[in-house]
Point group: C2
Chain length 202, copies 2
């Protein structure tokens, strides 16, 4: 099933329109008619390039995930070049993640809102993208001399990511009331660096 150039263009317009709408007002405000209007196509056209809105959201999320991967990748080459030690590398990664979430808040939130509201499993293509995120953590973990097998490091990478993710989610949720972005950054740094120290001095 090859995509004709016309369909490809339409698909791009639709994804871009949806991305803009999510970015502006969040996933909950995404309406099929708004997408069509912004993409300059008819309502039905959306369904000629996506099975349903869910599939479209998945495409938007894939782009978001790629953008995040870009930032992490750029950061990775810097750290390697600078021969940064494992602890600071990991703390830096958490900062990159926080910055991305804060700057692309709605798109980043959509990544997780969607998974929760959908019963069906997300395609393994997406699962691989998530795995990719964990991979960025394994490098600095390998530098730290913790007595861990590769499998254990994999689990640990996942756990560290999840922990930072939790702090970012709950921290950004009520940024106004309690926590400035800077304070949140310090909190994340404190926990990450404490966890790393605790792991190495086992």
């Amino acid at each position: 099933m090859q995509a004709s150039p016309r369909k490809e263009a339409l698909r791009n317009n639709v994804v871009q329109a949806a991305e803009a709408l999510v970015s502006a007002d969040g996933l909950g405000a995404l309406k099929a008619r708004d997408i069509a209007s912004r993409a300059g196509c008819s309502l039905g056209a959306i369904y000629t390039v996506f099975k349903d809105i869910d599939a479209l959201i998945l495409a938007v999320n894939e782009r978001t995930l790629m953008q995040l991967a870009d930032q992490l990748s750029t950061f990775e080459v810097q750290q390697k070049a600078d021969k940064v030690d494992g602890e600071r590398w990991l703390v830096g990664l958490s900062h990159v993640y926080l910055n991305f979430a804060a700057r692309s808040k709605m798109l980043w939130l959509a990544l997780f809102e969607h998974r929760m509201s959908v019963g069906s499993e997300l395609p393994q293509e997406m699962a691989e993208k998530h795995q990719m995120l964990f991979d960025f953590i394994e490098q600095p973990l390998a530098i730290l001399k913790i007595g861990k097998s590769p499998e254990e490091r994999q689990l640990l990478a996942r756990s560290l990511f999840s922990a930072v993710h939790g702090m970012v989610v709950l921290g950004l949720e009520k940024k106004l009331a309690s926590l400035s972005l800077e304070a949140l950054k310090e909190q994340i740094e404190e926990i990450v660096s404490a966890a790393v120290r605790g792991l190495v001095t086992r």
Copy 2:
């Protein structure tokens, strides 16, 4: 605005019905007509005791939060009686949280799905309930001799909760594929205890 006994009964029926439906099929499957049918009342009756479905979900979430608080409270008296040290106390708290989330998965998920999808701020009554969760962490943190002011401990409690929350969220999401409940428990224990060790040996 006092609640008449009849309205009170209706309200209870509606909340119980909603809770049962969420518990069975998740927040996304909650439909006004199903609630009415299960509560044995008319569709319109719901709106005589709740402004809208959002307000009803808030009531369900409040009950869930209270159940969680109960479990944490029971655990707290045990730990005090047993004079458990701070690190094991904190690890135990994370296990109580994980068990609650795993056993009441849908209701627990509703706690967070809802907040994300609603733009309006959640009432401060609910915010206080959340604060209450953090308070359960401050006790064992106070036992550990970390050089921290009460305000810093408050922030730290919040951060630790968030970190554990993140591991539980992402851990339970794909329980089948990668992580058994027991393995998840071990992972959480490893991170929490490492963080605590890192904090005390600062």
